[in-house]
């Protein structure tokens, strides 16, 4: 069954529609990468899917159940099922890494015993390779470590989907590659579902199972990443720098 099914979705800001009539699915256990040029509406779409920006029209279904973006209950249920890794990491600077990662547990599962909370926080810190850094503050960490910590926070409640906004942006190539490998490992070993928004070609090549290419206010390509190379679509080929290898 599809995790997310988007039907006739329009997204934008105020009166301005950025993307129209979108129809696609997010399958489980895969990494779906949303790509497109700057200003193509990638982040706008992400914000709509995670409930930060109410869609202008259309519907989003989660496992067959419609998300009501006007209902606090529906959004609260959505937030219990997703984790989000932000481009800026968005860790709270006034809290230690431990407190940052424990925050979703304290909010959603406030009766969790401290020993269980501690075990889970240390488990996810271990998964992202940050064991022993729990007492540090975000400003004491490098950019790559902050991204890993933010990923740990996104995963702490074992969400069904983790959304990643430009996961490798602002990182040096080696650190970016390490983070991509981490996403791949987590998807492979834990069967996690990721939706990543990015325009970094190397990163797309490393992590994408499926690609959703946005262009001209709609979807230009929606399919497996392995099918990109065989496509005859000029725009798709030029976006992925495949000009020299006609199918």
């Amino acid at each position: 069954m599809d995790h997310i099914r988007v039907v006739n979705l329009d997204v934008g800001y105020g009166d301005e529609t950025v993307l129209r009539n979108l129809n696609f699915v997010i399958p489980p256990g895969m990494i779906t990468v949303v790509v497109g040029e700057s200003g193509s509406g990638k982040s706008t779409l992400l914000k709509a899917l995670i409930g930060l920006n109410r869609p202008l029209a259309g519907q989003v279904f989660w496992g067959g159940e419609r998300i009501d973006y006007d209902s606090e209950h529906s959004l609260a249920a959505l937030y219990r099922r997703i984790g989000v890794l932000y481009q800026n990491s968005a860790l709270l600077n006034s809290l230690t890494l431990y407190e940052n990662i424990a925050l979703p547990i304290r909010i959603h599962r406030h009766s969790t015993p401290r020993s269980d909370e501690s075990a889970r926080v240390h488990e996810v810190l271990g998964m992202v390779g940050l064991r022993g850094a729990d007492g540090k503050y975000p400003f004491e960490l490098s950019g790559g470590m902050r991204k890993r910590a933010a990923l740990a926070r996104a995963m702490v409640l074992e969400p069904e989907i983790v959304f990643c906004d430009e996961p490798s942006a602002g990182l040096d190539p080696l650190t970016a590659s390490g983070l991509d490998e981490l996403l791949r490992t987590l998807q492979g070993s834990h069967g996690m579902t990721f939706v990543a928004v990015t325009h970094e070609l190397r990163s797309i090549g490393r992590i994408a199972d499926r690609v959703l290419l946005l262009q001209g206010g709609g979807i230009r390509f929606d399919g497996d990443f392995k099918d990109v190379a065989g496509s005859g679509d000029e725009y798709l080929r030029s976006f992925f720098l495949l000009k020299d290898e006609a199918p």
């Binding site: 995670i50 937030y79 968005a90 860790l91 709270l92 809290l95």
Partner: protein
């Protein structure tokens, strides 16, 4: 159009904050444990020295300028009446409010605006945290608890400035000065001073939150929002003080 939009945002945020604070007081959820105590420390303990210094200096300045005039008419003892009423009813609430705007309001706006720019507010929301509750409820509760203590301290220090001037410049013994102060100043005056400062404190916190939550994006916006927050808070304080003057006197 912009003013209408701003007013609508301000009052909807105010309603959200009041609702969120009430909800937190009922179920104690949605706010980090210890957040209120931390805000009490920041707003109370850290504001005491500057509020004390400013009200003490204002007490001395008003006393010195008034003493010369009163002495000409042989009305030296009325300095106690003037200082008692002026400090407790007007100057302490006003100066404390302005100090809170500069110290507390600016820091609230800078913190929230930075969080907004760094996507931390969005992150809180997608974690299921209500930012208006998580960030503002502890601050509104803390300012409510701190203001009466700040006002009591500032009243004491401000009148102490008058006591010193009266003793040094006019030769009025402290005991006589204080007896005169207690004759003219009633408990109602003291409570009115607390109420006014409380309203000013709420205006500072709500205004600061408004400027922080509705910042224009970008680091440049943080500085702009912080400055505007102080201007807004001082304008609100003066405006509310004027309303109090119409209602009370």
């Amino acid at each position: 159009m912009k003013l209408k939009e701003d007013l609508s945002r301000f009052f909807s945020l105010l309603a959200d904050e009041i609702y969120a604070t009430g909800q937190y007081l009922r179920n104690r959820r949605g706010v980090l444990p210890g957040a209120v105590v931390q805000q009490l420390f920041v707003m109370g303990y850290k504001s005491f020295p500057i509020v004390a210094l400013i009200t003490f200096l204002v007490g001395i300045t008003i006393s010195l300028t008034s003493a010369a005039q009163l002495e000409m008419f042989g009305a030296d003892i009325y300095l106690a009446d003037l200082i008692g009423l002026a400090m407790i009813q007007e100057l302490v609430p006003l100066m404390t409010g302005i100090m809170l705007a500069g110290k507390i309001g600016a820091s609230i706006t800078a913190e929230i605006a930075t969080m907004k720019v760094m996507d931390e507010i969005d992150a809180l929301r997608t974690m299921g945290v209500v930012p208006e509750k998580f960030l503002m409820a502890p601050r509104l509760i803390a300012i409510t608890l701190v203001v009466p203590l700040l006002v009591a301290m500032a009243d004491t220090v401000g009148v102490a400035g008058g006591v010193i001037v009266a003793r040094v410049a006019l030769g009025i013994p402290p005991g006589v000065f204080l007896r005169e102060v207690f004759t003219v100043v009633t408990l109602g005056d003291f409570l009115t001073g607390i109420l006014k400062t409380l309203v000013f404190g709420w205006a500072v916190v709500v205004g600061a939150g408004f400027k922080g939550f509705f910042i224009d994006r970008g680091a440049e916006g943080v500085g702009k929002a912080t400055t505007e927050s102080v201007v807004l808070a001082i304008s609100l304080i003066i405006g509310l003080d004027c309303v109090f003057a119409f209602v009370l006197y």
